[in-house]
Amino acid sequence: MGFLSRSWAIAQKDIIAELRARETVFSMLLFGFLVILIFNFGIEPGLREENLVKPGVLWAAFIFAGILGLNRSFASEKENDCLQGLLLCPVDRAVIYLGKLLGNVVFTFIMGIVVFVFFSVLYNVDIIATFLPIGLILLLTTIGFSAVGTLFSAVSVGIKARDVILSILLFPVMVPVVLAAAKSSASVLDGGGLSGGGLWLVLLVVYDVIFLAVSVMVFDYAVEE
């Protein structure tokens, strides 16, 4: 059984557990809705139509809700000390990292799509015209967010105040991703399509590649006691 099929086994296990427990995606969605709703009430009605504000609201909701999922990612492995059972398996640590990452990407992407639909309704966005380009930006952002988030989730899992620690570790590193996602989606929401945010999309891709590679390399140290 190969590297990827073992990683998929881990992701599949997380997806099955989530389908039964409905803890992660549900809480992420609820939180995402609430963030968008609060911004909706907090921002002046005229400004709500401004495309300068919209991307910020969307990506703030995405990041805050995504953190909840990342917190659950390794916390679920602490129950019955499952993480130790996983680490006892004769597999490369990168297999475990990729498996957990795949699960996080699936959960976060689903949350992102649903939150975007909700956001489109409240902020009067043409969902038909923007769905595909925003979907692509969302996918690239999800990969970068989950690549770093899975690593930091593993680092913080043994710490009592892991929710706070994860946020403190993750937010500063997420700045380039949020910036690139907001700038490229602003262009899409303005009707300029993906071409308007070309360089920002390149930045997202570069970020994803670099942080995926770095996270695979250092994950072994992250889970070592």
Binding site: R6, E79, N80, Q84, G85, L88, C89, E225
Partner: protein, 245 residues
């Protein structure tokens, strides 16, 4: 000319620190292949830490540790498919069924036919009738029986058992004894830690006592008077035992 049997476990001058706290203090241990060692010791003696180092979960701070001829600090990856661990933690996913748990770990261990192996083990531990039930609905004893099946999935050469009787009912304890007997007759190397003197002395070949991060006693079972062992244990541990004394 006869040769000494090849050691399955060889530990020299093992120290393990947690911060500045030494949980293991220069521990030495040699165990030949196919032997069954029981380690007794009071709470805080470092038994669990020793098992975690031997089973590659923790890296030694100082000293050398070889299990199955493999240096655990340098090449733990080569060792993991040869060792099994049963502890008071079950390492089971509560939202998965018993069968799904075993299939998952079977895939992680790269078994050729995980389903057949899982079914055989579920029958052996008496859970075949509940294999499609989620682990979250299992009693503590049933979870522990399933964790025994999980540890045996890949048919390991060397078994580590850290307080495995914790929370087991009579039926599950008897089943665990049966599993240990079978492993022992199949020449597997076994290391068991326990507080329970009767259960610990039942099947072992060697007996050790661990106190304050060191083995202070290790003898073959034949050299021990079972009737007075408890007295001897307290002599080694000390009646007013305190870790930091």
């Amino acid at each position: 000319m006869t040769h000494a049997p090849e050691p399955a476990i060889e530990v020299r001058g093992l120290w393990k620190y947690f911060g500045h706290f030494p949980a293991l203090r220069g521990l030495d241990l040699t165990l030949a292949k196919g032997r069954f060692l029981t380690i007794f010791g009071p709470n805080g003696a470092g038994k669990t830490t020793l098992i975690r180092v031997l089973s590659t979960q923790l890296k030694p701070s100082e000293g050398s540790v070889s299990v199955g001829g493999v240096d655990v600090a340098a090449r733990a990856d080569l060792l993991r498919h040869r060792i099994g661990l049963i502890s008071h933690n079950t390492y089971l996913y509560a939202h998965l069924t018993a069968l799904e748990n075993l299939l998952f770990f079977g895939r992680m261990y790269g078994l050729a036919d995980p389903r057949t192996r899982a079914m055989d083990l579920l029958t052996e531990v008496g859970l075949a009738g509940r294999m499609d039930d989620r682990v979250s609905g299992y009693s503590r004893g049933m979870q522990q029986r399933l964790s025994i099946a999980r540890a045996l999935l890949h048919d390991p050469d060397i078994m580590f058992l850290d307080e495995p009787y914790t929370g087991l009912d009579q039926h599950a304890s008897r089943m665990l004894r049966g599993v240990l007997e079978t492993l022992h007759t199949r020449d597997r190397t076994i290391v068991l830690t326990t507080h329970n003197i009767d259960q610990g002395l039942e099947m072992c070949d060697d007996v050790a006592i661990q106190v304050r991060g060191r083995l202070v006693f290790k003898e073959p079972i034949g050299a021990i008077d079972r009737g007075t062992f408890e007295e001897a244990y307290f002599e080694h541990v000390g009646k007013d035992y305190r870790w930091d004394s």
